[in-house]
């Protein structure tokens, strides 16, 4: 992460714009593994100012996957806060940021559809977004979570 991901200009910009970064060297401070209930490094955790956790990732992330993770964290926060206008915007961003990432793009599509539905109160938006998810990633876990809508 320190040699490839964090020096990446897009990653650096994304962190500076949206996050306050904190780093712990677990060799120097082994107690942080218990403090944050982690079992492996690198561990990335995204919390709000009150300590509510929105996202956790274990293992190395390249710049594309890292920015996708961060976009999903921001989307999760806005949905949690019921700020659906922000969630709608962040859903579009997460969809864009996770493009081509077969693990994260389906999740972004799932929650982008949720946000589009919530901001509009139009259930057709949920159907439309989830249909897109099921068409593009039919074998994904997120498509399986959405498929009841077709039954």
């Amino acid at each position: 992460m320190g040699t490839v991901t964090y020096p990446n200009a897009d990653v650096e910009r994304h962190i500076r714009s949206h996050f306050v970064p904190v780093q712990f060297n677990v060799v120097d401070e082994p107690e942080v593994m218990d403090r944050f209930n982690s079992s492996w490094t690198p561990t990335l955790i995204v919390e709000d100012a009150e300590g509510r956790e929105y996202r956790r990732s274990l293992g190395y992330l390249d710049p594309h996957r890292f920015v996708g993770e961060m976009a999903l964290a921001r989307l999760a926060q806005s949905i949690h806060r019921r700020d659906y206008k922000a969630a709608h915007e962040r859903g579009l961003e997460a969809t864009h940021r996770t493009k081509g990432d077969p693990w994260r793009e389906p999740e972004a599509l799932y929650f982008a559809a949720v946000a589009a539905y919530k901001v509009s109160s139009d259930a057709a938006k949920l159907q439309e977004g989830w249909n897109r998810l099921m068409d593009q990633f039919p074998e994904s876990d997120w498509a399986k979570k959405a498929e009841f809508i077709r039954k």
Partner: protein, 34 residues
């Protein structure tokens, strides 16, 4: 390993104060140096 590109803090409590003031999220990275 730590890097020069991102300005990492080392206190979650301080980070939360800044995050509250600037409407940001806190990113915590637990790393093991190579």
């Amino acid at each position: 390993m730590a890097n020069e590109h991102v300005r990492w803090g080392h206190s979650v409590e301080d980070a939360r104060r800044v995050a509250r003031a600037e409407s940001k999220l806190v990113l915590i990275d637990l790393f093991s140096p190579n």
